[in-house]
């Protein structure tokens, strides 16, 4: 049994039957009869109840179980949870990882680093300043932390979602 996580919910997904591109599938207790094709790479054309809709998607480069899905102006960040991952997740507790490091949602350049390894940083203080497209953003810690490791240096170009500073 697979689940797909979106925000605070894990949706149970199950294929009830499949005949070529015609699929009957349940999401929690809601059942959909859909006709799905992939005319272009990363685009699903989906017909259901005779409605025609298009969903675009791509898996994240570093985790093929994490998806970005788009439809109209809407956007979802989803994660496929197979039994193995569910087990790991339950062991670690929620969001256990995320708060262990600072990262940015987008690529940019490190303008200034305000902490060094071993620093004790009080909640709310800025630890790093990143610029992207002429705009600078300050990244702060939300609780008291101790810096374990600084992975970048001033002037570095960084990717989005890349760990920058790791806390203990």
């Amino acid at each position: 049994m697979y689940e797909v996580n979106y925000k605070d919910n894990d949706y149970k997904v199950e294929i009830l039957s499949r005949n070529g591109n015609k699929i009957t599938i349940s999401v929690d207790d809601r059942v959909y009869d859909i006709d799905v094709t992939e005319p272009e790479s990363g685009i699903f054309s989906i017909l259901y109840n005779n409605k025609s809709v298009q969903y675009s998607f791509f898996p994240e480069k570093d985790d093929r179980k994490k998806y970005k899905v788009y439809h109209g102006d809407k956007e979802w960040n989803l994660e496929i949870i197979d039994p193995q991952r569910r087990y790991r997740k339950s062991r670690k507790g929620d969001d256990g990882d995320d708060s262990n490091y600072i990262s940015t949602p987008m690529p940019g350049k490190v303008v200034k680093i305000l902490v060094k390894e071993g620093d004790k940083v009080p909640a709310g203080s800025t630890v790093i300043i990143i610029s992207a497209m002429k705009m600078e953003s300050e990244y702060k810690v939300t609780s008291d932390r101790v810096v374990k490791e600084v992975l970048v240096k001033e002037g570095d170009n960084i990717d989005g979602d890349q760990p920058l500073i790791i806390f203990e």
């Binding site: 979106y6 997904v13 259901y48 969903y55 675009s56 497209m133």
Partner: protein, 503 residues
């Protein structure tokens, strides 16, 4: 005659210029920084020259490097686009010195219009209306009161030495004049040690309307009507349209004449724009001149049929304008939106990154000037504008409908864009009515924010999408392990069709 043009720019404007070059049978030369080797303007040009590292002050802004590329390529002329060196008087002069045609005005015109005080004085001398106000600092309260009465309320009092809002007072009612002047003066004194003040007419919630002008080297100068540019966020234009929904033919003619007079006052050559601020009663005042092509020039092209880049090249060639003022007219209605890689829901933060999927709007009445392509990585070093979309229709209502359709048809994933925000602008009643000022975005912020909350069914389909793709990929991975190489598969499939594997 110009046979080869170096375009000293990047992104959509470089390509837009090169398109006109292609149509005119002129070779185009691209320049590119380290971040732009894969940029579409490099791919689109006939030749391409590397000019330095990614930061623009080490590449696109380095006059020597641009000139060297022009010399190496044997370009006759340089088109600066907008931004970068387009309003740089030194660059205009340098081109001249090097015997390269600069497709733009003289350094004299750039300098005169580039300095606000000189520009204001030059316009006054040419009888172009400027915002009424003092040009010299005032210290005497009585004198200040007299001037305010002459200008008429409301006025803004500003500290002459100041900035940052200190010593600034808005006066709306006569009874407040004296107290406000006194307060401003003492605040100015305290803050800057100087109590001199300026007084300027305060234009309440103004419109920003500009006129396109075009002048040749033979003293001929025409205007190509107005563009309404009041939809702005932090003084950055977001949506432009022409004709302006508040314009009358009478005021248009008059403003057009003043725009031409403004251009002639600096012996202007080429395409330029006279910006005015306009109040609700269509009183208008010169704001500034942009001595270059504007981002929003295509809406003028759409209603007049004139290709402004081709005309710039003709003027640079020394040709006379091929039309007179009376040959020009506006047909229909055009709107432009600027699409940025930015996140409207996150304070319009720039959103560089890689374009994953791109479907550009096509069909009747749509012009799309962009430079991105699927897989393109929008660099973080430059302006986050990724395209401008222009629609034309017979009337304003049709143009708005068409723009909505175009925005709906524009599918782009991988980076956040301002498309959802632009859709909301098209839907806003103030915009639909054509009754908006530069306060429009601020005033309507609550209804302009995209509300992208999906419903349950949409989320279910998104969940299904991710899940099915995941399963498909798992399945493919297994198959790849089972069979080695696609060549084998092909023959297997062929055999299956025949029932037996024969070859």
């Amino acid at each position: 005659m110009i046979k080869k043009i170096l375009v000293a720019n990047r992104g959509e404007i470089a390509i837009r210029v090169m398109r006109s070059c292609r149509e005119a049978g002129i070779k185009s030369v691209a320049v590119y920084s380290e971040a732009d080797r894969d940029s579409m303007h490099v791919r689109y040009a006939d030749e391409a020259y590397y000019i330095g590292p990614a930061p623009s002050n080490q590449s696109y802004l380095v006059i020597d490097n641009i000139i060297k590329a022009a010399k190496d390529s044997g370009a006759d002329a340089i088109h600066p686009g907008y931004g970068f060196l387009s309003e740089n008087a030194e660059f205009s002069d340098r081109c001249k010195k090097e015997g390269i045609i600069f497709i733009g005005p003289s350094s004299y015109a750039i300098n005169t219009m580039g300095d606000k005080i000189t520009a204001r004085k030059t316009m006054q001398a040419a009888n172009v209306p400027v915002v009424p106000g003092t040009t010299e600092p005032i210290q005497d309260i009585k004198e200040a009161v007299e001037i305010i009465k002459k200008i008429g309320l409301p006025v803004m009092i500003k500290a002459s030495a100041g900035g940052g809002g200190k010593g600034m007072r808005l006066v709306r009612e006569e009874k407040d004049i004296i107290s406000s002047v006194s307060a401003a003066k003492s605040e100015a004194k305290a803050a800057f040690g100087d109590d001199a003040v300026y007084i300027e007419k305060f234009i309440e919630s103004p419109h920003h309307i500009e006129f396109q002008i075009l002048c040749d080297k033979h003293g001929n100068c025409v205007h190509l009507f107005e563009r309404e540019c009041s939809v702005q966020r932090r003084h950055q234009k977001v949506v432009e349209e022409t004709p302006s929904p508040i314009m009358t033919q009478e005021v248009r003619d008059e403003m057009g004449k003043h725009a031409v007079a403004a251009a002639k006052a600096v012996n202007y050559e080429g395409a330029g724009t006279i910006e005015f601020i306009v109040d609700d009663n269509l009183n208008y005042y010169f704001l500034e001149m942009n001595t270059r092509l504007q981002v929003e020039h295509p809406i003028t092209e759409a209603v007049t049929g004139v290709d402004l880049v081709v005309e710039q090249i003709r003027v640079a060639n020394g040709e006379k304008l091929s039309f007179r003022q009376e040959d020009l007219s506006q047909k229909g209605h055009a709107i432009e939106v600027r699409v940025y890689a930015e996140d409207p829901e996150n304070n319009f933060m720039p959103s560089p990154g890689q374009i994953k999927y791109l479907h550009e709007p096509l069909g009747p009445g749509i012009r799309h000037d962009g430079y991105i392509y699927p897989g393109y990585k929008i660099p973080m070093e430059y302006d986050p504008m990724i395209s401008k979309m222009i629609v034309w229709a017979n009337d304003r209502e049709g143009a708005i409908k068409r723009m909505k359709r175009a925005l709906e048809d524009y599918i782009l994933t991988g980076v956040k864009t301002s498309i959802p925000f632009l859709k909301k602008v098209m839907d806003a009643p103030d915009f639909a009515n054509g009754k908006y000022t530069t306060q429009f975005i601020e005033k309507n912020m609550d209804i302009l924010m995209p509300d992208n909350e999906p419903d349950q069914e949409e989320t279910d389909i998104a969940v299904i999408t991710a899940f099915i793709d995941f399963l498909n990929k798992e399945e493919n991975a297994k198959n790849e392990i089972r069979t080695a190489g696609s060549s084998k598969n092909y023959w297997k499939e062929f055999g299956r069709r025949k029932g037996v594997l024969r070859l």
